[in-house]
């Protein structure tokens, strides 16, 4: 048996490793997507005041501290049995909308976009954000930087800090915003709407007008029929900050809709011997292995999942984009994983429009930004939609509010099973017996999971000893017969 090892994965946080095992004929026998698991978080948290969790947990992940901050804040609200006043919810959601705009922009232009703009077989040195700018135009770079700057500045105004927000506390926020700050934020939000529309148009021009890309998106290689998860409001429209979590089956029918404190009734976790990370699945369906279909408990939680699990978007232009998305791709639900990139841009537009709605709400500068908790703290669950999937924080405290138990299901963990399935299917489809794997081919395998934007780094930014993509091919005796490297 031959072994192909992709270690580590390019352009992704953390130190993931893909191993592809070939049989004696050179066909794919199996694939494994392994990642290191960070350990001891619960033990680290036990005994700490629950109100610290919103600051502490945003250190878990270097990519989306804002998502952890919000999930932790909502869980702490629940622990104290306190419902923040409306202005506090508006402010939190505005911070979160600004964060979404910055994060989704970055993913499309720097991580997912290069595969389409430059092409999956472009030289690796060009498949990055500089390549995109070189091909599409210098002004794109300026727009990306501006979008990030506006997002981070809004986060700083509301969250107190540009990187690790610290103002969400049980019952609301520690501070509001002034009318002057509101006036500073509004033009940034309006600019974001124009930028999102521009990005969607760019996607149409570059991707949808290229028949080869459309065929690739719609092809079977990148398609799986699974359940889909996403948070929705009372009208079943996509919501990133608040609501219930809805799951639809592979036919698009509602399977379950649950409140945060019911998550354990819906989600269970499967253990495999070859990885420390667990595989969440739908408890009522059961774990049937890494397989598609209505009888398999595997679900996905991504931008595409959120669109599939909803009945639409709550803002007008995003709703138009949503309708065009499904009209073009043949109706709901969409199972093609590469469509996650397009769905992400639909969400970008929603986040920008929602940002405008929130900043123009008359209550956004209200002084009523906190309800002081008065009840004895016990237990609570907070859920938000992180850009990479549904994020659940569950805390149990003693009567003083000191942490006794912590359970987190992070965005990417939801997708561990579908990512594993996508890698296997792409590898099996693309690696043919007797043909040596090429760099473009390996990139197309990586594309199978890049749309998920998996995030395992959790703020570890150690410089590695060996980071370029390395593919080692071994024969049945384990001897290295070939090594492919992407040079840095």
């Amino acid at each position: 048996m031959q072994r192909i090892s992709i270690d580590p994965i390019t352009r992704l946080e953390g130190h993931g490793k893909i191993e592809i095992f070939l049989d004696d004929l050179g066909n794919v026998a199996n694939t494994y997507f392994q990642i290191p698991e960070l350990r001891g978080f619960e033990q680290f948290c036990v005994g700490r005041p629950v109100e610290e969790m919103a600051v502490l947990t945003n250190r878990i992940c270097g990519v989306c501290p804002e998502a952890h901050h919000m999930a932790a804040a909502k869980a702490a609200d629940a622990v104290f049995h306190v419902d923040p006043p409306r202005p506090a919810k508006l402010l939190r959601e505005m911070l979160y909308s600004a964060f979404y705009c910055a994060d989704h922009t970055t993913h499309f232009y720097a991580l997912g976009g290069p595969d389409f703009v430059m092409g999956p077989d472009a030289p690796v040195a060009q498949r990055n954000i500089l390549g995109v700018i070189h091909k599409v135009g210098l002004e794109i770079g300026g727009k990306v930087i501006t979008m990030r700057k506006y997002g981070h500045h809004t986060i700083e105004i509301i969250g107190g800090r540009k990187v690790h927000p610290c103002t969400s506390i049980p019952g609301g926020l520690s501070k509001g915003i002034t009318k002057e700050q509101r006036d500073e934020i509004e033009p940034m939000a309006r600019w974001a709407v124009d930028f999102a529309l521009f990005s969607l148009q760019l996607f149409k021009d570059i991707v949808l007008k290229n028949q080869g890309y459309v065929d690739m998106i719609l092809g079977d290689i990148y398609t799986h029929r699974t359940y889909y998860m996403g948070m929705v409001d009372t009208n079943n429209k996509v919501n990133f900050y608040d609501g219930k979590v809805r799951v639809v089956d592979p036919d698009g029918n509602e399977f379950v809709k649950y409140s945060p404190n019911e998550y354990k009734d819906v989600i269970a976790e499967h253990v495999e011997p070859w990885t420390y990370l667990k595989f969440p699945y739908l408890k009522k369906i059961g774990w049937k292995g890494f397989v598609d279909g209505k009888d398999s408990g595997v679900y996905m939680a991504t931008p595409l999942s959120r669109l599939n699990a909803s009945d639409g978007m709550a803002t007008p232009r995003a709703q138009e984009a949503y309708e065009e998305f499904y009209r073009t791709l043949g109706g709901k639900p969409v199972h093609q994983r590469l469509a996650i990139h397009w769905a992400r841009l639909v969400e970008l537009l929603y986040a920008a429009e929602r940002w405008v709605e929130l900043v123009t709400d008359p209550e956004i500068t209200s002084d009523n930004f906190r309800t002081i908790p008065t009840e004895t703290p016990t237990e609570g669950v907070g859920i938000v939609e992180a850009p990479r999937g549904t994020l659940t924080h569950h805390y149990v405290t003693d009567e003083r509010g000191l942490i006794r138990k912590v359970n987190l299901i992070v965005g990417t963990t939801n997708n561990y099973a579908p990512i594993t399935m996508s890698i296997k299917k792409a590898a099996a489809s693309l690696i043919k017996a007797g043909a040596a794997p090429s760099e473009p081919l390996l990139n197309m395998i990586e594309m199978a999971f890049r749309g998920y934007d998996p995030c395992f780094g959790c703020a570890t930014h150690s410089l590695p000893g060996q980071m370029p993509l390395e593919v080692t091919i071994r024969n049945a005796l384990g001897e290295v017969v070939d090594v492919l490297k992407q040079c840095c």
């Binding site: 580590p8 994965i9 390019t10 352009r11 992704l12 946080e13 953390g14 290191p36 698991e37 960070l38 350990r39 001891g40 978080f41 033990q43 680290f44 502490l56 250190r59 270097g62 990519v63 501290p65 970055t106 993913h107 720097a110 991580l111 040195a125 990055n128 954000i129 500089l130 700018i133 210098l138 770079g141 300026g142 990306v144 930087i145 990030r148 700057k149 981070h152 990187v163 690790h164 934007d453 995030c455 780094g457 959790c458 703020a459 570890t460 930014h461 150690s462 410089l463 590695p464 000893g465 060996q466 980071m467 370029p468 993509l469 992407q486 840095c488």
Partner: protein, 205 residues
């Protein structure tokens, strides 16, 4: 500007620093996660350097993210020293490396949801932003042991490396302030990621 002229520095050197410091901005960054065991070494060393020299010769920053987000934080500075953890294959815990941007791989090193630091700095520069030249970015990396367990303490070998790492940062700061770039002439490129210097505290593995 009053400078703290410490160690072996001459009056001429101090005068030059004073002149440069009026126009050039220098930043020392402790990079890492302070609640993830040895990933906090960069921040710990930066704090120790700050305690040693104060804020007269450089500004200080703690950062947890690389790539675009780090590059955005470097905008406006002419010279930068990054202090971070590293894990090399077969590396000796606590070993200290001097690296450049050129030593860093193009991908995934330092903020892989967006861009390499080198590309991110170039992106900002393309848009008219003021960023340090590649040879004005020094990286002091310390070989870490435990990067997977949550905790606020370092492993003993890594903790013991702090004084030497502080010296490495100070030596680099001296070079970078005097020459406008960090790499002293007596440093030779030794391996893909490593520079061995003729003096100072840096050690090869």
């Amino acid at each position: 500007m009053l400078l703290n002229c410490h160690d072996r520095r001459s009056a001429v050197y101090c005068r030059q620093l004073t002149a440069d410091a009026d126009t050039m901005r220098t930043l020392i960054v402790g990079l890492g996660n302070p609640i993830l065991s040895d990933d906090g070494i960069g921040i710990r060393v930066a704090q120790a350097v700050h305690e040693r020299i104060g804020a007269a010769e450089a500004e200080f920053l703690e950062a947890s993210q690389g790539g675009l987000r780090l590059a955005e934080q470097l905008e406006g500075y002419d010279r930068v020293i990054l202090i971070d953890a590293i894990q090399t294959r077969g590396g000796v815990p606590g070993a200290i490396y001097r690296l450049t941007l050129e030593d860093m791989p193009s991908y995934n090193t330092d903020g892989a949801h967006d861009a390499s630091l080198k590309n991110a700095l170039q992106l900002i520069r393309q848009q008219g932003g003021r960023t340090p030249d590649a040879d004005a970015v020094a990286i002091i990396a310390i070989e870490a042991v435990n990067m997977l367990d949550f905790g606020e303490t370092l492993t003993p070998q890594v903790e013991a490396a702090i004084p030497a790492a502080v010296q490495a940062v100070l030596g680099t700061l001296e070079a970078i302030l005097l020459q406008g770039r960090w790499r002293p002439a007596h440093c030779e490129r030794h391996t893909e990621f490593q520079h061995i210097c003729g003096e100072g505290q840096e050690q090869s593995t």
